[in-house]
């Protein structure tokens, strides 16, 4: 990073898009525990809720619809590279860190890649009656 001219732009790794469809099963949580709902793709496997702050290594969709059976999302400019832990996250309290996964991307061992200029499509199933364990069991 450093040379005679000091700091330089590291260069863009390139971006691609992530498109997805979501299928919801089970009973939706009460409205007061649905502060927010988003698709989140992480470049790392989180170990606790504090890892939700590593926003520089995450891609996050806009807010998703609630109380629906299916939904879609798109992240038009996601950094290219591997994403190893991705899914639908529910913010259950107003607290910034009160998030939990309610459905994970599980195909191809939960790992997918984004290539520059290309679109990656994934499918996620959310079962509110059987949400994933968090932190994930390694």
């Amino acid at each position: 990073m450093s040379c005679d001219n000091g700091l330089e732009p590291p260069g863009e790794a390139g971006t691609g898009s992530i498109r997805g469809t979501i299928e919801y099963l089970g009973t939706w949580p009460a409205a007061d525990s649905l502060q927010d709902l988003r698709f989140v793709a992480m470049r790392f496997v989180p170990q606790d809720t504090s890892d939700f702050l590593q926003l520089a290594d995450m891609e996050i969709s806009n807010g998703l619809n609630v109380n629906v059976e299916t939904d879609t999302f798109i992240i038009p400019e996601a950094k290219s590279g591997l994403y190893v832990y991705s899914g639908i996250a529910q913010q259950f309290e107003a607290n910034f860190l009160s998030w939990r996964p309610v459905g994970l991307y599980t195909d191809t061992a939960g790992i997918f890649s984004v290539s520059p200029g290309e679109s990656t499509e994934i499918n996620i199933r959310v079962d509110f009656n059987n949400v994933p364990v968090f932190p994930p069991e390694l």
């Binding site: 990073m1 450093s2 001219n5 330089e8 863009e12 504090s50 926003l55 520089a56 107003a94 607290n95």
Partner: protein
């Protein structure tokens, strides 16, 4: 005996006459008579000059306690209070200490009184008014960057690694104006912009804990800004400057901002006038305005500033001085960048339950700020051996956030209103020429109301009272050995149920082992009480931050050995004067206050960290040629730091720092100079900041070259200054690009 100023004063009443007579001799410390020395009763025009044989005599109608000032070219001036009895003659034998080198500086911060920098038993660096003027220093952090061992990270001053980077909440360096603390009430921050840059006599930087003299805040050191004395003749100064920021080197960065390809202007004007209306009353006043469009998006500022100093001496033994200042500022604060590929645009936190009032990036904030400072000092010379001072201080802060929608300041209730105020009494006792004692007591209080804080009683008038008593002893044990000891007790009430007390001792020795070479040994304690912002911030607008009422003061302890000296060389190869300073220091810290993510609380919180230590060495060398037309200085600081628990290096500390400066009178009216500073990339960069701000872990070496020329003709001075001439891009602090190349033209008229 090599004393600091003069050695003996004899009082004899002889030959009663109608008017009082003051007579005697002035000699140097070798016993040779000094012709041409001025002896004046301070606050009057009464006085005389010594004759070729060193004798002097003059009459006056004044009676009672007066202060005599004795000065001579090439010697340290000195003041002494004496008693004049009606009709009697006062016989004095005055001895002045030779000022062998022009480079000898006088400092007051080391022991609250003027003394030669050469002989003080602690590390002190001095920036003169000339140093500030030729660099077009507008805000003092620009000047402090040129001091050996000092780094400025954002608005945070770091002396010998004491501060690192702590999000601008709480300063580990105490800022003083004429010896009076000047910290902001809400965060104990350092309000450098509130100081009158054009009316500064010098800046003294005390390196190492200064709490035994100055109390809390002086954990890592003290910066004492000394305002100008009043000259005998009126002086008017008008200056203006204008310049521009050059677009940054990389197109990728420029393309991220609409104005990235433009030269961004800045300009300012300043006027000041100083005069002594009568022998007993004088004043100076200064007003300035500057506008800076900034080299990053949302980083512009407008600053209006006015300051004045009044000095009134109704009787020779009484003196009242006041400093009064106001600053009004509208400022965008660029907090963090969008990424290392988009350094000119503020970033954005994409998650958060409480949206801001619009969709603008929250990596910047915009505030309308007013600061008010009022610092009166009363001095009474009671007798020939003692005098006392009463000092007051009021610092007001008014912060109004500016709406991103309307562009107008919001209500003060949505911002911060704070006052820090207090008083101090000092009794100075000089039982004999080799002994000096100071006894003091102070009381301060703080009241701050902020939409960001949830306090218990801190927002009440008189909240968080601080009481201190202290004493300070200077004793010359022999001709070559001086000892300075001090002890200070501070008591802080944090809220209705919490209080903290702290005892801060210090001991230092100065030993003149060869002519003009002084060894020193200093040991002292320092501490800092958590600021309002660190203890009481409880807000979730930006990030979840919860208050911590259990926060304890930070503590430090420092041991330093050093040698300071100077010599003149007159060889055929090298001529001029050299002065040097070398020191080694061992500082330990306990309970550093820094923000950490507390998972159990699911929020950030300011907490006390385990102990740490910083050891280091510092070397400084200065050279002036025989005609003093050229001056060169070089300073090097090495820091080795370690956290005791993790045995890791402390974050954000540069192991190697170098500052150099060269100034030369080139030809006729032209002078030129340069500053170069280097700081190695911090060995460890670790912050929770980097978890949510892209590329916040990126740090590089700092290599900055500033160049300047000046042209002087009569009362006019023209300066041309190029800062960061090498166009080297560095990181000021995490996720904040340092200042790129900029050009300044400055015009000054002084009459």
């Amino acid at each position: 005996m090599r004393t600091l100023a003069f050695i003996a004063v004899l009082l004899l009443g002889l030959n009663p006459v109608a008017a009082q007579t003051i007579k005697g001799t002035v000699s140097d410390d070798q016993g040779s008579p000094l012709p041409g020395a001025n002896i004046v009763i301070v606050g009057t025009s009464v006085g005389t000059a010594s004759l070729p044989d060193g004798t002097f005599e003059f009459d006056t109608t004044i009676t009672g306690i007066v202060v005599l000032k004795v000065s001579a070219i090439g010697f340290y001036s000195t003041q002494q209070s004496v008693r004049l009895v009606e009709g009697e003659t006062l016989l004095l034998s005055l001895i002045l200490k030779e000022q062998v080198l022009e480079s000898d500086e006088v400092v007051v911060t080391a022991s609250r009184r003027e003394q030669p920098a050469l002989s003080v038993p602690v590390s002190v660096s001095v920036l003169s008014a000339e140093d500030l003027g030729r660099r077009n220093v507008i805000v003092l952090d620009d000047a402090l960057r040129t001091v050996s061992g000092v780094q400025v990270l954002g608005n945070q001053i770091n002396i010998r690694g004491s501060s690192g980077f702590a999000y601008n909440t709480g300063s580990r360096v105490l800022l003083m104006l004429d010896g009076m603390p000047l910290l902001t009430p809400e965060s104990d921050g350092v309000p450098l912009e509130a100081l009158p840059a054009t009316e500064i006599e010098r800046i003294e930087v005390l390196k190492g804990p200064g709490s035994a003299l100055y109390g809390g805040g002086a954990l890592g050191g003290v910066i004492n800004v000394i305002s100008r004395e009043l000259p005998d003749t009126p002086v008017t100064t008008v200056s203006s400057f204008a310049g521009s920021w050059e677009p940054v080197r990389h197109e990728v960065w420029r393309s991220g901002w609409t104005h990235g390809d433009e030269y961004r202007p800045f300009w300012g004007v300043s006027m000041s006038h100083t005069r002594r209306s009568s022998p007993r009353f004088g004043w100076w006043a200064n007003a300035s305005f500057r506008r800076d469009s900034g080299y990053r998006q949302l980083s512009g500022r407008d600053v209006f500033h006015a300051f004045s100093k009044l000095s009134w001496q109704p009787k020779p033994a009484y003196k009242l001085e006041t400093l009064l200042g106001i600053m009004i500022r509208e400022k965008n604060s660029f907090i963090f960048w969008a990424s290392a590929n988009d350094v000119l645009s503020p970033g954005r936190i994409t998650l958060g339950p409480a949206p801001l009032d619009d969709s603008n990036p929250n990596g910047a904030s915009d505030n309308f700020v007013k600061q008010l400072s009022f610092l009166p000092v009363f001095t009474h010379f009671v007798g020939t051996k003692w005098f006392y001072e009463i000092k007051g201080r009021v610092f007001g802060l008014f912060v109004q956030p500016i709406s991103n929608i309307s562009g107008k300041p919001k209500s003060l209730s949505e911002g911060t209103l704070g006052f820090r105020y207090g008083a101090e009494g000092l009794l100075n006792w000089i039982p004999r020429s080799s002994t000096r004692m100071v006894f003091g007591a102070s009381r301060d209080a703080n009241t701050t109301r902020s939409s960001f804080f949830v306090t218990t009683d801190g927002d009440e008038l008189g909240g968080q009272p601080e009481v201190a008593v202290f004493t300070h002893l200077e004793e010359e044990l022999s001709e070559n050995l001086q000892v300075v000891a001090g002890l200070r007790f501070d008591h802080y009430r944090i809220d209705q149920s919490n209080a903290e007390s702290r005892l801060s001792p210090k001991l230092s020795l100065a030993y003149t082992w060869m002519p003009r070479q002084v060894l020193r040994l200093a040991w002292g304690h320092g501490f800092r009480v958590p600021s309002f912002a660190e203890r009481f911030t409880d807000n979730r607008d930006f990030l979840p931050i919860i208050r911590n009422l259990e926060l304890k003061p930070e503590r430090s302890q420092s041991i330093e050995v050093g040698i300071r000296g100077s010599t003149s060389l007159r060889s055929s190869l090298v001529q001029g004067t050299f002065s040097w300073d070398a020191s080694a220091f061992w500082n330990t810290y306990d309970g550093f206050i820094e923000p950490r993510l507390v998972v159990s609380e699911q929020a950030f919180q300011f907490v006390n960290l385990p102990s740490a230590r910083i050891v280091g060495t510092e070397f400084q060398l200065e050279w002036k040629n025989a005609s003093e037309q050229t001056a060169l200085s070089v300073g090097y600081t090495f820091l080795g730091s370690r956290e005791d628990q993790t045995e890791e290096e402390l974050p954000f500390r540069s192991r190697h720092q170098v500052v150099t400066s060269l100034d030369s009178h080139v030809w006729g009216p032209f002078s030129a100079g340069l500053d170069y500073r280097f700081a190695s990339r911090p060995g460890r960069v670790e912050t929770d900041f980097a978890r949510f701000v892209p590329d916040a872990e990126l740090m590089v070496d700092t290599k900055v070259l500033d160049m300047r020329t000046s042209f002087t003709r009569g009362p006019f001075v023209v300066n041309v200054i190029v800062n960061n001439a090498l166009e080297y891009h560095f990181v000021e602090r995490p996720a904040l690009l340092g200042a790129p190349r900029r050009y300044t033209l400055k015009l000054t008229y002084q009459h």
